[in-house]
Subunit: 206 residues, 2 copies
């Protein structure tokens, strides 16, 4: 068994779990609930990942693997079915660029969320404004990309983008990202109905 340092709230962990489900490896992963917070590094996790980040995977031979793009690539190397990351360019590049956009959206949303946990007098309106601008621009760009997304085989790029949009639902419902984005709304409904996605619904247990 592999061991995954895991949280039901982390969207990067969700990416990995959806990927594992899609390629039939979820049963080989033992998840360990691990709580990391911006102001509370996790001392035990830092022994194997000094940046105290989720997801961190321990492979069966003890090899430590992080962050989520590396964990996903590693898992994708362990099976012989259709790959989540195409081996050949230019398809590979499209998938990796989409993953970078989804992960970038999540990086921005995590900073934005973290801001809310600061005392009110330490929150920065210019930062929040910039995060909102980047988020809206990303959703606008994805609306334009829907035909290409829908035409390409479901892979890690789709997972990263779907998870990022779902994280908007989970933490930023007031942003109403679906407004003015009908094609992306439809595409995301299809994403959200996949068994791999249904099996890994975020839970706010704190």
């Amino acid at each position: 068994m592999m061991t995954l340092h895991w949280s039901p709230r982390s969207p990067y962990v969700r990416k990995v779990m959806i990927a594992a489900h899609e390629i039939g490896l979820a049963d080989r992963i033992h998840t360990v609930r691990t709580t990391v917070a911006a102001t509370q590094p996790h001392a035990e996790l830092m022994r194997i990942n000094p940046q105290s980040r989720l997801p961190t995977l321990e492979a069966e031979d003890g090899t430590v693997v992080y962050d989520s793009p590396v964990v996903c690539e590693y898992l994708d190397s362990l099976h012989d079915g259709p790959k989540l990351i195409p081996a050949a360019f230019p398809e590979r590049l499209v998938t990796l660029r989409r993953q970078a956009l989804g992960d970038g959206m999540l990086d921005t949303l995590l900073m934005w969320l973290g801001e809310r946990f600061r005392p009110a007098e330490k929150q920065s309106a210019p930062h929040i404004d910039a995060w909102r601008v980047k988020t809206r621009a990303s959703v606008d760009a994805l609306e334009q990309e829907v035909p290409a997304l829908a035409a390409s085989r479901f892979d890690l790029g789709h997972i990263a983008i779907g998870v990022a949009l779902s994280y908007l639902d989970f933490r930023f419902p007031d942003e109403r990202w679906r407004d003015g984005h009908p094609r992306l709304t439809d595409w995301h409904a299809g994403f959200d109905a996949r068994p791999s996605v249904r099996a890994n619904v975020p839970v706010d247990d704190l």
Copy 2:
């Protein structure tokens, strides 16, 4: 020619430029000075990268490539010499995990630096403490990894780690990361002497 949206201060851009130099592709990259700031998304850059991040590369056929790990992997596909990212596991996994550690250190240091630009009353001491803890833990871990680093062929993992340590010198000299880390100090001196690294020294021009 490829076009790289570039800044002399961005460590992620520096990673890409060092990588391009190492594999002999620097002459094929036209750099365009692009200024992005946490609170000032770059409207023109966002047309091709809605997260407004550096580096963003436009390939010769117009394909847009980001973030830095994807740009590096793309550049590494364009030449026939020794690769910066090994094709085969487990070597590939070691390189990608090292890159994730170097990039993770940079993510932390960029947030820490950004905090300094906030008004004093909006700066958060618990966040700064946590960033310092993660940074010190990362340097401690790298000190232990020096024998393995030195024994493996120079690749993208070494570049990411070297750039992260150099960024500590550039922005956080008071942290004195070399104290208590003699092997890492020696390893970094060798990194810093490489022509590719010398050709891409950070400049604070603002």
